[in-house]
């Protein structure tokens, strides 16, 4: 890691880490549920030709915890948007939870996300396509030393409902508004229902990581 910046998203301070400076559009890494940003560029991502940055999502890594919880993926999309406001246009590589949040960001800021790569990782499925039996837990255990990952984030972000047609809408936003022939590349193996639906959309491909890098590195 060569440095970090603190960015404000409403009442949360986010930690955005520069893993490798370089000329060219940054690759923005989004970690999985309960993970944090890596300290160095992971070996399998070293082939990206530009800079590499990584964002700790709210409740994770060096970012603030949301007191009283209330975590939801659209708020994490807002985290990513704050990072985009700082970095300018990016290509996203998201693992697990970060893949779903990356999809939302690619749909929400289609002109500034120049391709999103969706990979396997913790928290990929979320709470499934429909609500399950309701529960209202009042305790989820103590946070780890340092406070993150917030146990409430783990609880809430494994129960958030991810309807396939809702996810597909974001894929459609990304492909129609980005101007890219391919806006999303799925490089993982697992296919929760939301991702199955995303893959059916135009502008979404399944491919090896190297191919996704080549495609998005040369994207306008």
């Amino acid at each position: 890691m060569t440095g970090s910046v603190r960015l404000r998203h409403n009442r949360i301070e986010l930690a955005l880490h520069e893993l490798r400076p370089a000329v060219g559009r940054p690759l923005l890494l989004l970690h999985g549920l309960a993970e944090r940003s890596p300290g160095v560029v992971p070996a399998h991502l070293a082939g990206w030709p530009g800079a590499v940055w990584a964002l700790d999502l709210t409740g994770h890594g060096d970012s603030d915890v949301a007191v009283g919880a209330g975590y939801f993926c659209e708020a994490l999309m807002g985290d990513v948007d704050i990072a985009i406001a700082h970095l300018g246009a990016v290509t996203i590589y998201g693992r697990g939870l970060g893949a779903y949040v990356g999809l939302l960001a690619a749909g929400g800021r289609a002109e500034e996300v120049r391709g999103a790569i969706l990979a396997d990782g913790p928290g990929l499925a979320g709470g499934g396509p429909t609500p399950t039996s309701p529960a209202v837990p009042t305790a989820v255990g103590a946070p780890p030393p340092g406070g993150t990952p917030d146990p409430w984030a783990l609880y809430e972000l494994t129960r958030d409902v991810r309807p396939p047609d809702y996810a597909a809408t974001f894929a459609r936003q990304a492909s129609t508004r980005s101007g890219l022939d391919t806006a999303l590349a799925v490089v993982g193996v697992n296919r929760p229902p939301w991702l199955d639906a995303v893959i059916q959309e135009p502008g979404v491909i399944e491919c090896p990581l190297a191919e996704a890098f080549e495609l998005f590195a040369s994207a306008p």
Partner: protein, 302 residues
């Protein structure tokens, strides 16, 4: 400090106010009636606050109940949070319940508060003895028939607007104004409620700063937007409920209402359920007809 609270016929401020810690957030709790009387809990709607029960709750108190309500996180006098979601609102409700009793209690919920209490009664049936739902049964909405292209365009506008809003939130404040100006702004969403009532609730739900009155509600919160939630996810809880249920709907269209039809509810009513349609009344049934709704509640409890 000068008391700036307005007046309204029949309105009475709470007899007691306190705060409850809910997972690190201070939730403001308001009570009307004898502290030793049987409790009943009231959950307000979205963008409302407990003070909107200032006529209804005193009627319940005068009927012999201890009426307890709370400001949802980010609303009224409760603390503003970094994040808001449905699960957190439910936990806050349970924190308030825990501060009152662990025995089953009657609950009343209006609009969003009605949906919250419905889910709480489904998740924690041992905490609820009777459920009163005041136009808080979202039903499948009928969207206008628009093309896929148009729908994509509309969602793009929603997304951009929401993200732009999130980027602008640091140190954001609500717009100041006079009591009349704030009442006029609220009248756009509450057109059936009279100006006198709206001016009254400004003096409860807003604070007076040096440059004017501001609604206390967190400026982070905004109407509309998008998300995965579907209205039918709330209605599907209703058949599960095993305690006596009273559902009340107004028949008049209202901007804050769900437009839920009688047939939508009847098909989901549980065995111990009753639906009352109030003719000529809008979304705020307990504000437009507080006496009638109080009588129905007392009949249910009897």
């Amino acid at each position: 400090m000068t008391d700036t609270t307005g007046t309204f016929p029949g309105a009475r401020r709470p007899d007691r106010q306190r705060t409850v810690d809910s997972h690190g957030l201070a939730i403001a709790v308001h009570e009307w009636g004898d502290e030793a009387a049987p409790p009943i809990l009231l959950a307000h709607g979205g963008f409302d606050f407990a003070g909107t029960f200032d006529v209804f709750a005193p009627m319940l108190a005068d009927a012999g109940l201890r009426a307890i309500s709370w400001d949802h996180r980010g609303h009224g006098d409760s603390q503003h949070a970094a994040l808001y979601n449905w699960e957190a609102d439910l936990r806050d409700a349970v924190s308030v319940f825990d501060s009152v009793t662990f025995s089953p209690v009657p609950v009343i919920g209006h609009s969003k508060g009605g949906s919250l209490m419905l889910q709480l009664a489904d998740a924690l049936p041992h905490r609820v003895s009777h459920l009163v739902n005041l136009d808080g049964l979202p039903s499948r909405r009928s969207f206008p028939d628009v093309s896929d292209h148009q729908r994509t365009k509309l969602m793009a506008q929603d997304l951009t607007s929401w993200l732009d809003h999130r980027r602008s939130l640091v140190n954001a404040q609500r717009k100041p104004g006079t009591i009349d100006e704030l009442a006029e702004r609220r009248a756009r969403m509450n057109p059936r409620l009279g100006a006198e009532w709206l001016r009254y609730i400004v003096t409860i739900g807003a604070r007076e700063d040096a440059d004017g009155w501001r609604w206390k509600i967190d400026p982070t919160l905004r109407f509309g937007g998008f998300g995965p939630w579907r209205p039918e996810w709330s209605m599907m809880r209703l058949p599960d409920i095993g305690v006596p249920v009273l559902a009340v709907l107004g028949t008049e269209p209202d901007p804050m209402g769900w437009g839920t039809a009688e047939a939508d509810v009847l098909s989901h009513l549980p065995a111990e359920g009753r639906l009352v349609m109030l003719e000529g009344v809008g979304h705020f049934v307990h504000i437009e007809k507080p006496r009638e709704v109080t009588d129905m509640v007392m009949e249910l409890l009897a």
